[in-house]
Amino acid sequence: MKKTTLTLVLCLSIIGYSQEKFEGEILYKISLNKPDFSKLEKNTQISKKRKEEVKKAFKSSKSIKATLLFNGNESLYSVKKSMNNEFNKKINFTKIFAGNANVFYVNPKKKEYFYQTTIYGESMLIEMLQKNWKLTQEIKKIGGYTCYKAIDLNSKNHSTIAWYAPEIPLNFGPKKYFGLPGLVLELQDSATLFSAIKIEINTKRIKIKRPSKGKKLTIEEYNELRNKKSLFKNRRKN
């Protein structure tokens, strides 16, 4: 009986330790998907000068970097700030679609999934919903880790694809992409490609500061607020 109890305690400690032992930082390189200008070219209501301006703005949107900090319990994703002033003044579509100035926080144990953003000048904490992942058996190697492919069934044309590493059994990933049985090392959505270029695990202590400033909003409350403001109602007529 004593032996069984001892073994059980030992096993539980090992499992607990393996959960806790993963802490680190992933550096993602994020690039914007290639824009398709065929619709723009066909639009006769847009001047040639403006068409050129639009193309230039998209083409000058360079790739950027973002970090995912994590430990056994929680993760924090944010875009790295650029020191280049000129870069900060101009619009960078990649930066916007990578998460911009928002901070994304996930803590499965406490069931906290939200991002901190500023809406109409006010800081807010908006709830995030887990994606509807379909796990597949397709594999590829990323940074020495065997990664499995997962598809977000709720994404348009199933265009959101994640590659996660079960060897790192944490449910975290970049931006709003979490909830897989392994850390997401690559993610393709309909705007950007997130690729892990540096994977640091257990090389240093990671302290995560949970974002707390701002009013908490559920998805329903946020949708209600958006509907009230109703900025995006009409589509452009081509």
Partner: protein, 87 residues
């Protein structure tokens, strides 16, 4: 006494005339500002539509990429308003 009353009346009429003109000027300014604000809304929206037409994001303005489209909108709206001088 009559002279004083007459002067007062003239001053009153003059001041009300000036006030009316000032009000008109202010209203004009506000109208111009409103028009520019409207123009900046339209211009900023054009950039959002450009991103959608270029296939960046899923194209659903009120969908998953709402925040991203809104960021594009806010950037161009602020830029447009900064460039405006009505004085």
């Amino acid at each position: 006494m009559k002279k004083v009353l007459l002067s007062l009346a003239v001053i009153f009429v003059m001041s009300s005339f000036t006030t009316t003109n000032l009000e008109k000027e202010n209203n004009k300014k506000i109208k111009v500002e409103e028009n520019v604000g409207r123009d900046c809304v339209d211009r900023a929206m054009e950039w959002v539509y450009d991103a959608v037409d270029a296939g960046i994001g899923d194209g659903e303005l009120n969908g998953d990429y709402y925040d991203d489209y809104m960021s594009i909108y806010m950037f161009y709206y602020k830029e447009c308003m900064k460039g405006f001088s009505y004085v």
